[in-house]
């Protein structure tokens, strides 16, 4: 595989000039001949090293999870429906890690809840299919879903402090999940819990077992959530912003833990985050969601190396990639996109169009279809045909 590494020093000068506002076309500059060419800038992610063999190989087996054209609405008390997800589709293979990238409110948490059919009151799955191991989850009964949750598909919620019961010991909280799905006796459950805790905690497992959540730090709480999620050896693990409230050092440890999980359990993981950097470390494939619709989907490599969708490009350019990279744009205005992605009502055209710097006439009129850039890379943008 060709080396895809760049060095910071190799970069051309950042396209952000010293005192000016960002150029109107992020990521592009005029070459000598007047044509536009892609500029590697200090604010762009350089590359993502390929970690796993599964990423670029074409999976021959049936995908473990297939989401097809999922549409989810939230209906408020007055009966008005707001579209949260519109036509989401992707495949997840066994052992693969899919990163779902999007801003707050784009629907990525809704997607996680929809898969497990745990939408809050008001949420309703309007149409689509979620095929797990061949069968459609949307037509399963609640009892069947209950036996699936935590046992075959696990979800790690966002805020560890809120996801743990305040007056129940940590060991017991994990044991209850085992009790819900497996027929072990009390002592077997306790042994299994200790085993799990030794896996996620390097040391101190015994003390953690009988601790209460409020006695643990944020990172420790997150590890407990992970232990809960893998207790029954699920096939799919969904982690919603697993490192959002953590310190950088703890973040690093938790991500390393996820690496270990991938390696030791061959789990399929769906990692949800708003931070491209975090997803870049672990994901094989990336799904970019903007305002409830798929903007781009492809191998992590391709996505970060050469982002196609204007939103993704804008996102990757707007945030410095590392402290060293940040130095290069010290005290300069960052090339952010104006406005925000939240609270979009259903519109006719592309949902990113109001903020897009490369918009064309058709963009406001129709929603762009998915265009296949490469064998496993799709973009939803008129710029690439439609």
């Amino acid at each position: 595989m060709p080396s895809l590494s760049f060095n910071i020093d190799d970069a051309e000068q950042p396209f952000v000039l010293a005192s000016a506002r960002p150029s109107s076309r992020p990521g592009y500059r005029s070459s000598a001949s007047g044509e536009r060419e892609l500029v590697p800038s200090a604010t762009m992610f350089k590359h993502v090293e390929r970690r796993s063999e599964l990423s670029s190989a074409t999976p021959l087996m049936q995908p473990l999870l297939q989401v097809k054209d999922l549409c989810v609405d939230y209906v408020d008390s007055r009966g008005d429906a707001r579209s949260a997800l519109d036509g989401i589709s992707f495949d997840l293979h066994a052992g693969q890690t899919m990163g779902i990238l999007g801003a707050s409110g784009c629907g990525k948490s809704t997607l996680a809840l929809a898969i497990l059919r745990l939408l809050p009151p008001g949420g309703c799955i309007r149409s689509g299919q979620i095929l797990f191991d061949g069968a459609d989850l949307l037509s399963r009964t609640e009892t069947e879903m209950q036996s699936l949750r935590g046992a075959r598909i696990s979800l790690i919620f966002q805020d560890p402090g809120l996801a743990l019961h305040p007056t129940m010991r940590v060991g017991e909280q994990i044991a209850r999940i085992l009790a819900a799905h497996q027929s072990l006796n009390r002592r077997q459950r306790a042994d299994r819990v200790r085993e799990l805790l030794s896996y996620v905690f390097k040391s101190d497992a015994a003390r953690i077992f009988s601790s209460y959540p409020h006695q643990l730090s944020g990172g420790q709480q997150q590890r407990v959530l992970i232990a809960q999620a893998i207790a029954c050896k699920p096939e799919i693990l969904i982690a919603d912003e697993p490192t959002a409230s953590l310190d950088p050092t703890t973040q690093k440890e938790i991500l390393a833990l996820f690496e270990n999980l991938r390696r030791d359990f061959q789990l399929a993981i769906i990692l949800i985050s708003h931070s491209p950097a975090i997803l870049a470390q672990l994901s094989d494939r990336i799904l970019v969601i903007y305002a409830g619709r798929v903007a781009e989907e492809g191998p992590a490599n391709g996505i970060f190396q050469s982002p196609r969708h204007p939103y993704l490009r804008g996102l990757l350019h707007s945030v410095p990639a590392s402290p060293e990279g940040a130095l290069l744009v010290q005290k300069m205005q960052l090339p952010t996109m104006d406005g925000a992605a939240d609270r979009v009502s259903s519109t006719q055209g592309c949902r990113f169009e109001p903020r897009c710097e490369e918009r064309m006439n058709e963009c406001a009129k129709q929603n762009p279809a998915h265009v296949m850039i490469a064998k496993d890379h799709v973009v939803s943008c008129f710029k690439y045909g439609a």
Partner: protein, 279 residues
């Protein structure tokens, strides 16, 4: 304002100076034994007008206590604090009141710092209640500030729940600007926001700094953000500043191992680090 900024820019007297700040809190363990926690252990720093000092540390390092002491919300156990040549640590509450407008605090969770029943314009105009200006003038000023921070005057009457996280932080900044402070202390103000929204707020802050000459004390655990935004970085751990210096120096040639560890922990990849990770 421009002439003030010019005057400040050329001034090399620190706006805020802390010397050997110590802050201890009593803490009771379950057994009933009284212990003391030393949150700050002899901290010294200076912030110059129109400049940004970033204090970077992890949770428990004492950075939030630092914010509280620097804004005079809490009195340090020992040590001195000077605000523009006046020693403020020995002042009484009544005497401090004159200084409060000069230093404003912005917190991590904007929603908890604002009254959810009030409209945006009332929230922004709240500090003006002290000066007892007429309501019309207050609201007018509030609208001005809303425009300044990238919202619009039309947002004035809307209630807090209609604003997103990033917009609420803009509101917090607008409110802080009401009294034209010389120093803004941002305590993890961007930590709860998406990177892209945080970047927008950073742009706003840079803009304000250039226009008004506001100084910032930027408290964060994100070194990338600090590297972009700050003139000087101080790394704090367990109540002690382990390293301090100009941003480029700290990022490129960190002297302390712990600073290096913090730099490495930033979630960004380049070839060398990924290779290390694999081996």
């Amino acid at each position: 304002m421009a002439h003030e900024r010019a005057a400040h820019a050329s001034s090399n007297k620190p706006l805020l100076r802390a010397e050997a700040l110590v802050k201890r809190y009593p803490a009771t363990r379950g057994s009933g034994a009284r212990q003391e926690v030393t949150a700050l252990n002899s901290i010294s720093f200076s912030i110059y007008p129109g400049k940004t000092l970033a204090v970077v540390g992890e949770s428990g390092s004492g950075k939030s206590t630092l914010a509280l002491c620097a804004s005079c919300a809490e009195k340090p156990t020992s040590g001195k604090l000077w605000l523009e040549e006046t020693e403020v640590t020995s002042l009484t509450d009544a005497e401090l009141r004159a200084f409060r407008p000069r230093v404003q605090l912005i917190f991590q969770n904007p929603a908890s710092a604002m009254n959810p029943r009030w409209s945006a314009e009332d929230i922004v105009a709240e500090p003006l209640l002290i000066a007892d200006t007429a309501r019309k003038a207050r609201i007018g000023r509030a609208h001005e500030l809303l425009e300044r921070v990238g919202l619009s005057a039309a947002d004035g009457p809307r209630s807090l729940s209609e604003f997103s996280g990033g917009q609420r932080q803009r509101l917090a900044i607008a409110r802080a600007l009401t009294l034209e402070p010389k120093l803004l202390i941002l305590d993890e103000a961007l930590s709860a926001l998406d990177n892209s929204i945080a970047a927008q707020i950073v742009n706003l802050l840079l803009d304000l700094q250039e226009a008004n000459g506001t100084a910032y004390l930027f408290i964060t655990h994100d070194l990338t953000l600090a590297a972009h935004f700050a003139d000087e970085i101080a790394v704090i751990e367990r109540g002690v500043i382990i390293e301090q210096g100009p941003t480029a120096q700290i990022v490129r040639t960190p002297r302390d191992e712990r600073t290096r560890a913090l730099l490495n922990a930033m979630p960004a990849l380049d070839s060398t680090r990924a290779a290390q990770r694999r081996s």
